[in-house]
Symmetry: C2
Subunit: 193 residues, 2 copies
DNA sequence: CCTGTTTCAGAACGATTGGTGAATAACCCG
DNA sequence: CGGGTTATTCACCAATCGTTCTGAAACAGG
């Protein structure tokens, strides 16, 4: 009884995400979004409410994948340094890298939709928790000294994590990032009791 | 014999830098730049050639201060871990923080002026070198093991450095960053031979 | 084959963008 | 106290922004 839509919501979000990722919120003009997603302007507004809504949907999708990936690695049993190292290594992508979309959103916190910024912050907080959980496990298994400040070490790991994303933006090769991660893990192992 | 200009070039750049810093390249509209700097549109074009030129001048000014600060800390004699820790701690700013303007530029590499992006990359490379020089000194003084991969450790320090800037964007308090830095330095000291 | 409902394609909207010109005002030197 | 030069003011430009509207197209049920 009605004309069927010619688009799949998730596919549209994927393509929009790709454009927002590369160009940022303001850089991704509506005309480019329309062309790149294949979705016409009218349907875009009906489906997402506007540019900001489409950005939020894109971030949600990215954050969903991101947290899924982090959880997949950082909830392996038993928790410990192995998981942490695996998580840091999983951050590496190809040569064409536009940074972590979540962090990019934070870097544009004055132009990106406020709702998106909030969700990015929430995701960052969860990732930090995941890292710390594995530190707790590392202590339990004797991989890290009992007297260590896990709050501080967790922040350190997240800082390293986020720094690796920036390294990607700066064009650092995966091999160099690998070496930096290896150095960090070596230090952590040396700190064992 | 001529009408004297009513503005001071450096002051204008400072104010433009402040706006670009908060709003990004595209977010800082020309009207806002004109209002915030006090410089009229026409003179802005005559002096800087346009919005892109003003952005490059802003970045140059920022990078100048930034490198001056890094050099000031990281070229103290003797080179070693003390300088490195001091440099990491010097990254902290107040609560209202918009990230490192150099890194923000990299995060907008597809919308910011290409010349600015290049200069940001060059500055990042120099900072990494400064860190590594102190690692060399640390090895010479026996603070770090001779067999350590200084290339990798240097990358690690820069990664930490850049991650701290992102932590600032994410609203992490100075105290938490302090703790993370302390944890990192403790690890480095434990790695001593 | 209509009819009702929804999507689609594209034009058009007012507002705002970065950039420019033409006229006015300010100054120093002679 | 003008004259010549430069900065400033202010209006304007074409282009583009995000958003909205209009009319045609595509289906399912009667």
């Amino acid at each position: 009884m009605v004309r069927p839509r010619q688009y799949v919501r998730e596919e549209v979000i994927d393509k929009a995400l790709n454009l927002f990722w590369r160009l940022g919120y303001e850089g991704a003009h509506l005309a480019a979004l329309v062309e790149h997603t294949g979705l016409n302007r009218f349907s875009l507004y009906k489906e997402f409410g506007g540019k900001a809504g489409l950005y939020e949907a894109s971030l949600d999708r990215f954050v969903g994948f991101l947290l899924e990936q982090y959880r997949g690695v950082l909830t392996r049993q038993p928790p410990g340094l192995e998981n942490i190292e695996a998580a840091l290594r999983s951050l590496e992508y190809g040569s064409e890298y536009y940074g972590c979309f979540m962090l990019n959103t934070l870097a544009q916190k004055d132009s990106a939709p406020p709702a998106a910024v909030e969700r990015a912050l929430a995701a960052a907080a969860e990732i930090e928790t995941l890292y710390r959980d594995n530190l707790v496990g590392a202590v339990a298994r004797g991989q890290v000294d009992k007297t260590a400040d896990l709050q501080a070490l967790g922040k350190l790991l997240q800082t390293l994590d986020q720094g690796l994303h920036m390294q990607g933006l700066a064009g650092t090769s995966d091999a160099q990032k690998d070496a930096a991660i290896a150095a960090a893990m070596a230090l952590l192992h040396h700190a064992a009791p």
